[in-house]
Amino acid sequence: MRRARILVVEDGFEYSRALERIAEDRAELVRAEDAEEAGRALDGGAFDAVLLDVAFDRIPEERLVGDRGRGTEHLARLQGFYIADALAPRLPPYTRVVMAYDFSGDPERLEALRERLPGLEGLREGTGMEELLARLLATPSRESPLPPRAGGEGAG
């Protein structure tokens, strides 16, 4: 069976290392530290799923992307969203994009973002690493759309 390719975009190693340990031969994990690195990773081949951290406060300010008029704190706090926006045009439709953000307090927000990234999902607080990996691996084939959203991903 082909190993799934998963792009992990984070400013630390929390997700990539932990996932590597449990993924074994089920997935190939590629780590990117900012939007630019993530773009380069996409140049190197397609991914089955993308995992995005949200807060990026460990990389220099100049590597943050987004509207600088909103201030650095805002950009760092929500950098994952800006990276997702930057990657969106380059991702095949229905690529599963898991954002490490709990949308359960504002489900409409997830719906709004799905207009641009139909395969976007949230991550409910308290989700374990095994469950996260399972969701990243449950990538649909590129020919078919994602299963209906009622499957729990809406709650993030």
Binding site: R17, F81, Y82, S104, A112, E125
Partner: protein, 839 residues
């Protein structure tokens, strides 16, 4: 004696006029009333002759002199007619009333009617009622239709009762007063009564009719044994809001403890009023029954006791069987029923809607809901800012079971006067009735608490758990020791304490428990602040605390959850490998790029404590219901360092099992507090309600402060009355600073414009990239002159625009200027800022 009709009198006057011309009579100096009357009569014209003014005046003078010596009713009425003829309506009315007050037998039906209307116009409704009745009586044997008088008398009764209705407090206190009250409550929470008294007094100086401040000071006075002052304060609170249960109940208690009979009578009436106003507070009814029994009126006591027994479960009823039997045996007691408590004199509230509201109050009390709502609709039209009108309408709707209309009315009331704690309380109680709207109710109680309601603290305590509930109950008892819920709060607090002690007992020996309790007591004495209490005191700090808490949420709660959930199982399955991974992730120090969870968590908590310290507040996270699980979770994770090292080195099965168990326990602790809990807490403190009316009011205040007329404002999109407010993520002080500066600059720009116009547009949008809800406003005006985005950003802070730009920027918002798309305006200023998601 039958009095001459007005027609005949006029004819006489006319007839006498001619004779008067020939011989100008003079008073002969006699002081005899009858002689003076005869003299006056001689001056009046004969029938058919036109009256002559000088003769009429002379006759009136003669009759006036005669009244000093005891004029007859006939003469008084004659004088009244002459006064009417001369157009002297004041004297006419007085003379007619004088005649009526004697026997009145000579008064014509029309006189009674005129007198009744005069009394009515003067607000003397009791007298008017009597006159109307005489009017009807005088027409008894005629064909005259007097059926219209009955409804008229009912209206009179309403007007009479309305006159004694106290005016409500119509608006919310200004922010300065609310701030002072909040400071006072914070001081009270940390036991500084002197400071709290100063702050409560300051709040009352700023807003003398501020009920919540008077309640707070009254409670403090009561606690310190200053009974007279406490009574005075509670009376002051009732003067502003006569139906406030939190004033009625403690005042009733204080008066009951007074030695004099009148005070006890008033106490009984106050408690009855509280029980009638709040049927949901069943203990009030029982308390009232017990007081009446002590008063010696078994009959009244029995009525109340039976009413209470009907509403409570059988088990509770049984507790009072003995009392009931005793009361039934005593029967009617000799003690006279006390007089109803007078409605306190109201604070002056000058509003064109006041009279309509008063009449509506009477109709509402008579359960004539249609008329009450009719009057209230008029009141709202007359004065849209008169919040008491929709609030009363809500009471009526709620009684009729139309909860949707009641809710809409309460929201209108809050739109008219945001921060009116009584309306927040009512809305929260209303929402509590729907189990599906518990979250909304809790949020409304939070708003009520922010507005100064002590009752809200009690209800928030009821929905909280553990340490948070204990803290809130204790606060309620500190702020309202004699409040309507004091007994229940004490019982709940005691039960919580018992539960806590029980839990402690399970964990250790009695001696250890005693030491622990002593330690807890000592600890509590010097305990610091919870994060929530600190931020409530300094809401503007929430902005700085948000990123720190965000870090804690992200690095510890979210990443910790991912890492630790199921880690126990993995450790058991592959001990050495998992232990190595966990050690790296949990304990990596500051020197590496990815700090360990423990270091991240401790750093975030230390930053939080540092922020509070900068405000002079020492946080005590161990007693903070929200953050103590995080602290304990981090400690539990920290304690895993050695066990994991041992597992890496190949520990025994027992050691591995212990490490696994401790790992799961740490995961559980970190799972107790969620990022959403933290967000909810922050949003309950550092968001401000956004409504069209608030912004209009602020514009008017700024215009008034600048001594210029507020321009007409066209509003589009913003929440109006009855619509839920948007919530901007910003402390109210910052919010007000922004809009004050925006409006002040707009007004300055408009000075000299002949027909100034302002348009205020608002919309709730989502950021295209982040999906965050944000508020977008456009302030358009027709002021000449150029203003660009760059000019705003470059302006120094003292010019106002700089302040706005800086504040918005620091809150992740932005400001821009663009030409208006609407030809009526020259430009528009676009403001965007972050909003809290809808509840």
């Amino acid at each position: 004696m039958r009095r001459a009709s007005p027609g005949l009198t006029l004819a006489l006057l006319a007839a006498l006029a001619a004779a008067q011309e020939a011989s100008a009579p003079c008073p002969d100096g006699s002081e005899d009333a009858a002689a003076l009357s005869r003299q006056a009569m001689s001056l009046l014209p004969r029938a058919g002759a036109p009256p002559q003014r000088s003769a009429t005046e002379l006759a009136r003078r003669l009759l006036r002199r005669g009244r000093r010596w005891g004029a007859t009713e006939h003469d008084v009425l004659l004088a009244a007619d002459l006064a009417a003829q001369a157009g002297d309506s004041d004297e006419w009315g007085e003379l007619l009333a004088e005649a009526a007050d004697r026997e009145g037998g000579a008064l014509a039906p029309l006189d009674w009617l005129l007198l009744a209307r005069r009394d009515e116009a003067r607000g003397d409704y009791a007298s008017a009622r009597g006159r109307y009745e005489r009017f009807v009586k005088s027409l008894e044997r005629t064909d005259e239709d007097t059926r219209w008088v009955g409804p008229r008398l009912k209206q009179l009764d309403v007007a009479a009762r309305a006159a004694s209705v106290a005016a409500p407090s119509a608006s919310a206190p200004p922010p300065e007063a609310r701030l002072a009250l909040a400071d006072g409550r914070s001081a009270l929470a940390r036991g500084d009564r002197k400071a709290s008294r100063e702050k409560f007094e300051q709040a009352l100086r700023i807003a003398p009719g501020y009920t919540d401040a008077a309640l707070a000071l009254g409670a403090l006075d009561a606690r310190e044994g200053r009974t007279a002052e406490a009574i005075q304060m509670y009376r002051r609170a009732l003067a502003a809001e006569p139906d406030r249960t939190e004033a009625l109940v403690p005042l009733s208690q204080l008066l009951w403890d007074e030695p004099d009979r009148a005070a006890k009578e008033e106490s009984l009436a106050l408690l009855d009023r509280a029980a009638a106003l709040r049927p949901d507070l069943k203990p009030l009814l029982r308390q009232s029954a017990e007081r009446w029994a002590q008063w010696g009126d078994a009959s009244e006591a029995l009525k109340r006791l039976d009413a209470w027994r009907e509403r409570v479960p059988i088990a509770e009823r049984a507790e009072t069987d003995h009392l009931r039997a005793e009361l039934a045996q005593r029967g009617r007691a000799a003690a006279p029923a006390p007089t109803p408590a007078p409605v306190p004199a109201a604070a002056a509230a000058v509003s064109p809607a006041l009279d309509e509201w008063k009449q509506a109050s009477v109709y509402a009390a008579q359960h004539d809901d249609e008329r009450a709502l009719e009057r209230l609709a008029i009141a709202e039209k007359l004065d849209g800012s008169f919040a008491a009108a929709p609030e009363l309408a809500a009471d009526v709707h709620e009684r009729r079971g139309d909860l949707a209309a009641a809710e809409a009315a309460l929201r209108r009331s809050l739109a008219a006067a945001p921060g009116r704690s009584s309306a927040h309380e009512k809305l929260a109680l209303l929402l509590s009735r729907d189990p599906k709207r518990g979250t909304e109710a809790a949020e409304e109680w939070t708003r009520a608490e922010q507005a100064g309601s002590s009752e809200a603290i009690f209800y928030l305590a009821k929905t909280a758990s553990g340490g948070r509930a204990r803290e809130l109950y204790a606060r309620y008892l500190a702020e309202a020791p004699g409040g309507a819920h004091a007994a229940e709060a004490r019982a709940s607090l005691a039960a919580l304490e018992r539960r806590r002690r029980g839990a402690l007992l399970l964990g250790g020996a009695a001696a250890a428990l005693a030491a622990l309790v002593a330690g807890v007591v000592a600890y509590r004495r010097r305990s610091g602040w919870t994060v929530e209490a600190w931020l409530r005191e300094r809401p503007a700090r929430a902005h700085a605390a948000r990123p720190v808490l965000g870090r804690l949420q992200h690095e510890v709660l979210k990443h910790g959850g991912l890492l630790l959930r199921g880690a126990g199982g993995r450790l058991a399955a592959s001990p050495a490998e998992t232990a190595e991974m966990l050690s790296g992730r949990l304990f990596a120090g500051d020197g590496v790029k990815t700090r360990g969870l423990v270091a991240e968590g401790r750093r975030a908590l230390a930053d939080l404590e540092a922020l509070a310290r900068a405000d002079g507040r020492r946080l005590n996270l161990d007693r903070d219901a929200l953050f103590s699980p995080v602290v304990r979770g981090l400690a539990a994770v920290g304690a895993l360092e050695d066990p994991l090292r041992r597992v890496r080195a190949g520990a025994s099965d027992a050691a591995l099992a212990r490490a696994t168990e401790r790992l799961d326990r740490a995961a559980e602790l970190l799972n107790e507090t969620t990022g959403r809990d933290i967000e909810t807490m922050l949003d309950s403190i550092a968001t401000v309600g956004v409504r069209a009316q608030d912004l209009c009011d602020l514009l008017e205040r700024v215009a008034s402060e600048k001594s210029v007329a507020a321009p007409p404002v066209a509003i589009t999109g913003l929440p109006g009355p009855g619509q839920p407010a948007w919530r901007a993520r910003m402390a109210s002080a910052d919010w007000e600073t922004i809009w004050r500066n925006v409006f002040a600059n707009t007004l300055t720009a408009l000075s000299g414009v002949r027909e100034p116009r302002v348009g205020l547009f608002g919309e709730l949008v989502r950021d295209r990239v982040t999906g965050e809800p944000s508020l977008r406003f456009a302030v358009a005006d027709n002021a000449p002159g150029k203003l660009t985005t760059e000019m705003i950003r470059e302006r120094s802070a003292d010019r106002g625009w700089g302040v706005v730009a800086e504040l918005l920027h620091s809150h992740g918002g932005r400001i821009a200027v663009s030409p208006s798309v609407d030809p009526r305006y020259a430009k528009r200023i676009i403001i965007e800022l972050s909003a809290a998601p809808a509840p």
